[in-house]
Symmetry: C2
Subunit: 456 residues, 2 copies
């Protein structure tokens, strides 16, 4: 039987980061990544395979990133796990370990309707052969339907419309696309952008059947209408891949993922879990969080990897920070939206500011940036933020995230020392984050009706 | 005699922001901006008047920004200030006040060498007529020399070379341009960029004379050589404009600016000062800080404006956060460089990480981003950061700044919850900020020689 110090099962965002972290924190330990894919797709890059990048081969997590840290990689499928013996069984034999990290990810789901298994209906597997098969089918299709208007759904739709000559339709059961991540005024902007690029958007619709013979021919909706489709893509989420853990007797959590404590330890000594396969709790209130993102997975991996032999880190709960981009329109969100904050019982002050991302606005690259901040009304603590802008929106949201994680108040943010530059950012007089905080402070001080949003 | 509640003297970044803040914090008070310029140039935008924007008229702080907050503006020059009578005298008469904020800015300096007053030698006044005169002279010049290789100097040089047909030379007394703001490895990159665009850079040089008859003809250096020049621009800094304050008997501070406490109050009750005219202390150690930036001015203005009738805010000291851009190369800095940190007695761990700002790197807009973080070795507290990248560098530095201001440690940053996106940011596995923090942690834990920089 082979022996090593640390085994990581899974080589995607969580597995790779856990391995790197383990090596950095315990450089004397041997770290082995066991994964079933020869090459691992970058999970967030998958939609871009179909348009911008052109092939799945251009969207690979480089092994060099692991190899330069002295991490070993074997391509084997783990069949079983024996916690008392501290041993995994793979397609190539058994391997003993001191510590184990499960980073087995998630599996995409099909909509539970008639016809969902038909040829031409594709969940989004993070697997190169699968993605290549999907790409081949898309190339010859003239009608593509994407079920689910979350960020994966809209990114797929936009990338496929870039190929030209196809009718692409997004179906969303909620009143708006992206509505779990953004308040309505942001969702509407993104929907308009998608429409202007030729993507059809149907919201408030329920799919009742994937119609066709063997092959998909149409998607039938509850209102009796049908949309022709040779390819149907399910962008409706994923379920944790917990088979090995469950069979080995590890406890599962309330959402069906592997139960972990704040140190990312499972119910079994010596075994940690991180990423899509692990349970998550929200930074806000501590209840289970349904979010599954690569950036969440990598944080959990940095916790798990650092805690293997000593407990060095504990998770404060998932803030939820992510961004998306369609054309030159980038949108990003962190923490709670105004809607979700109110649903969770918070009394909020929400402020929207909008202005140029350059000063003067006539500088090259000048575009309007819109920022919304949501504060708890009594304490002034920042609960969330949303940004619509261009490239920089992807980093502005990380400033917002830093503020949320350190539970900064509107007053803290109003006192922010920012760097600004004519060619790169908004003006220091009207820097969005500070400006929104100042307006929120004025509103929190004023005796006004609570719970209304002010736009400046 | 006219009467008002709050007078702000000066209408640039500090004055405008102080006025807006005063109105937001004390909406029942009347706020009057008294300024001498009919139109106020955006200070940071001034270099861009000469190339990118093409005219000073395109670089104006819009009065609408003040007017929509209900702020009054008069264009008058303040001649004197009478603190006991709470009154200012202007070119148009006297105005009484309850509270006064001095935001009188700074005045650019000429190099104290022979010939510095010659026709053709220009300090950079924040004044439209002056800028238009300079622009006219530049248009007909074939040799332009910029004295001073700080960010203003290099931005001027690059904008002037954009006009074409001119020899543009930057003279810097230190071994490198930008060396007060960046460690050498960053300075060198910027110098290479400038050279590749046709700007001549002469470092380690001392100017001894501006030669010529009435008009500037050349700049003579201490090594005996001369550089031809019809226009010489002094980009060597500015001194606080404190004449009114001094005459009125307000105390001055150690650098000759108006002395203020942490609430931005001057030695005289009811009078506040902010921006370039006010003394500054460093966030690091609390000694006087020589930095004068619009973004510092606006923070001070938000403190002064909020404190007019109650003390609501205190200054933690100047972190120093700023950025610059030449072509598609953006550089940004916050807090202490490794060099200045060591000069100030800190035992540092400095880490440099470099990698693509997209994932995969082949996504459009992909470029290399370099980040350096400097931590205090014993506590892990972040002391400073420098970024070289593209547009987003201007916001990445604001994440760094947030971390510095909240005295976050490498461990805090390693636990950062970031948002990432293929089209907008680095990968979540190798997000620069987190990656640099993790490397620093490993180095702080390891028993190694202190005080050396590790590059990854």
């Amino acid at each position: 039987m082979r022996e090593t110090d640390v085994i990581i099962v899974g080589g995607s965002a969580a597995g790779a980061t856990a391995a790197i972290t383990a090596r950095r924190h315990y450089p004397e330990k041997e770290v082995l990544v066991v994964r079933q894919e020869k090459q691992v797709p970058i999970p967030c890059g998958i939609p871009y395979v179909f348009g911008t990048l052109g092939s799945a081969a251009k969207n690979i997590i480089p092994d060099a990133m692991l190899e330069k840290e002295g991490i070993k990689i074997v391509v084997e499928t783990v069949k079983a796990l024996d916690p008392p013996k501290q041993m995994v069984s793979t397609t190539a034999g058994e391997i003993g370990y001191e510590r184990l990290i499960l980073a087995t990810g998630s599996l995409p789901v099909r909509l539970p309707v008639a016809g969902a298994e038909k040829d031409g209906a594709f969940p989004i597997f993070k697997d190169i052969a699968h993605l290549e098969a999907l790409q081949k089918r898309i190339q010859t299709a003239t009608h593509v339907v994407v079920i689910g208007g979350g960020f994966i759904g809209i990114e797929f739709a936009d990338e496929i419309q870039k190929l030209g000559g196809k009718t692409v339709t997004v179906l969303e059961i909620a009143p708006h696309c992206l509505s779990l991540a953004y308040d309505e005024e942001f969702c509407v902007e993104m929907e308009e952008m998608l429409k202007s690029r030729g993507v059809n958007i149907r919201t408030n619709v329920k799919v009742v059947e994937i119609a066709g013979d063997k092959q998909v021919q149409a998607v039938r909706l509850s209102d009796g209408t049908s949309i022709p489709a040779e390819v149907v893509i399910f962008g409706i989420g994923a379920v944790p891949n917990i088979e090995i853990a469950k069979t080995a007797g590890l406890k599962l959590g309330p959402t069906g993922a592997i139960a972990v404590d704040r140190a990312m330890r499972t119910s079994c000594e010596h075994i940690f879990a991180c990423g899509d396969c692990a349970e998550k709790v929200s930074f806000f209130g501590g209840r289970p969080s349904p979010l599954r993102l690569a950036s969440i997975a990598t944080l959990e991996a940095r916790i798990a990897g650092a805690n293997l032999y000593d407990i060095r880190r504990e998770h404060d709960g998932t803030v939820g920070v992510w961004s998306t981009a369609i054309g030159n329109l980038a949108m990003a969100t962190a923490g709670l939206t105004e809607t979700t904050a109110r649903q969770n019982g918070y009394n909020c002050v929400a402020v929207i500011v909008e202005g140029p991302n350059r000063h003067p606005g006539g500088m090259p690259g000048g575009a309007s940036t819109k920022l919304k901040l949501v504060f708890e009304k009594n304490t002034g603590v920042l609960l969330g933020g949303q940004v619509r802008g261009n490239e920089s929106a992807g980093e502005i949201i990380n400033i917002v995230s830093a503020c949320i994680q350190k539970r900064m108040t509107a007053e803290d943010i109003a006192m922010f020392q920012t760097g600004t530059h004519p060619a790169l950012t908004a003006s220091p007089i009207a820097y969005h984050l500070v400006n929104a905080a100042e307006i929120a402070i004025a509103r929190m001080r004023a005796v006004k009706q609570p719970n209304d949003t002010e736009r400046q």
